[in-house]
Symmetry: C2
């Protein structure tokens, strides 16, 4: 009997593993389907992180320069927390994974753990592309004021930590453009060669753009914000009711920033692909 239960538990976990989609680098071969599965799963992480950030008001204090009396540090509190947390995570090997890109890559400490062997799927020149400066700017300057209400509840550390979770989820998603570009290039190298050699960014962007797919992604992200952000009571689920974040904002995030920046990563990647 207990063996049967154990067997059922193993089966159930196997089934769950399908959904908790693996990182790209865990797959043996790089395929567009594999990358798409990962991107779809990452939408969930992005939506959860936005919902969690929206628990707090803006807490403007943490974004002001020189507002914390930190010896030898003149940035904002959020910059301090992101820098220091990235340094710890670097020691644990976070940035050995080619899917992860630090916001403050200068003088990160070396990993203290034996590095995992990640497959070398990316072209070396393109692997180091880092678009985090643009992500940082749109997130704090444009998006955050749309996401949260003004106000101060004193939860500065928790707020900054949840900003970091949003930034990391967005950064991971946007830099997946490197893998998308690599696979698309491998599938049709001849198609890309001419515009790469003549550095025709617009032609490359057009080759990489599928409006119908983008529309589907935007709609799905909006639906996820609706489903994951709904008020759940025992009596009913209420997708149409109150939400912790405005679902259309998730769609706008993708439309205005995530999708364009992913394509920018793809174009930059392709431009180095023949080096």
């Amino acid at each position: 009997m207990s063996f049967l239960i154990l067997f059922l538990l193993v089966l159930a976990r196997e089934a769950m593993a399908d959904v908790s989609s693996n990182p790209i680098s865990a797959s043996d071969t790089l395929t567009l389907d594999g990358i798409r599965d990962s991107l779809i799963r990452q939408e969930n992480s992005i939506v959860y992180s936005l919902i969690e950030r929206a628990r707090f008001p803006l807490n403007r204090q943490i974004y002001l320069q020189n507002n914390a009396s930190i010896p030898g540090f003149s940035g904002s509190l959020v910059e301090f927390i992101v820098r220091e947390t990235e340094a710890i995570q670097a020691k644990a090997g976070r940035y050995e994974n080619p899917e992860e890109n630090p916001f403050f890559p200068e003088s990160l400490p070396r990993p203290l753990v034996n590095p995992h062997k990640y497959p070398k799927d990316l072209h070396p020149s393109g692997a180091s592309i880092n678009m985090n400066k643009a992500i940082w700017e749109f997130y704090f300057d444009k998006f955050l004021p749309l996401l949260v209400a003004d106000g101060d509840d004193g939860n500065y550390a928790a707020t900054a930590a949840s900003d970091l979770a949003c930034l990391q989820a967005l950064s991971r998603r946007i830099h997946c453009g490197k893998y998308v570009a690599e696979v698309k290039f491998r599938d049709a190298p001849k198609e890309y060669e001419t515009p790469i050699r003549s550095k025709e960014r617009d032609t490359l962007t057009k080759l990489l753009t599928f409006v119908a797919v983008e529309e589907m992604v935007k709609k799905r992200v909006e639906k996820k914000a609706m489903v994951f952000g709904q008020e759940v009571t025992l009596n009913n689920t209420n997708e149409g009711g109150k939400h912790t974040i405005d679902p259309s904002l998730a769609s706008r995030l993708y439309s205005e920033w995530v999708i364009p920046l992913t394509k920018e990563v793809e174009v930059e990647y392709l431009l180095c692909r023949l080096e």
Copy 2:
């Protein structure tokens, strides 16, 4: 026209603020309803954090003692990351908030920011109760092996960071027992006085137990795991379909650990309440 849009945006954000339930300490007066709203909102954070942890396999490496070559440090990698991240967040004032309790309270650095003025709702003796050792033990030794599949994908830093998110969400929820106990005591001080003076833990536990409420909480958490962990596609939402975590595990987490430990916090708090 643009003024109308701005006005509608403000209205929409006001409506959202209702759902993104504030921390307990943000309320002017401590009420059981206020605490319950916060606990209900915290269920969401717990469920999101479990779903996010379940993206990764166990990654056993990070839980082994002495496995990282960190100068002057002999614990596990996860302990290193939690300790160091807590230290950074302490500098940003996280533990000035009486709702937050560190896992490694020894020698935390002082905050570098002006502390927020949190209302002093708790009795001083009870305010310092810290049940995080018990939370750490059940989470890593009992719960985590049920949540994730065995395996190693090398994402050690991201895995440890998501463990920290789970631990912090659970710790916050369980230590809310202090506020629950404070309000219940204020509502009926005479009822609690005798068992407090004679240190009758069992009587206090009975006074604090409402089986019907506990059943409701367990069912709601299971439902949240089902709703927030479902696979969302554009064609349909599918609560009954695949899930990123087994919904019954969320209920079991509450039943076996979260609810009993919260009551332990409540009892410990009451036992100091007349000091």
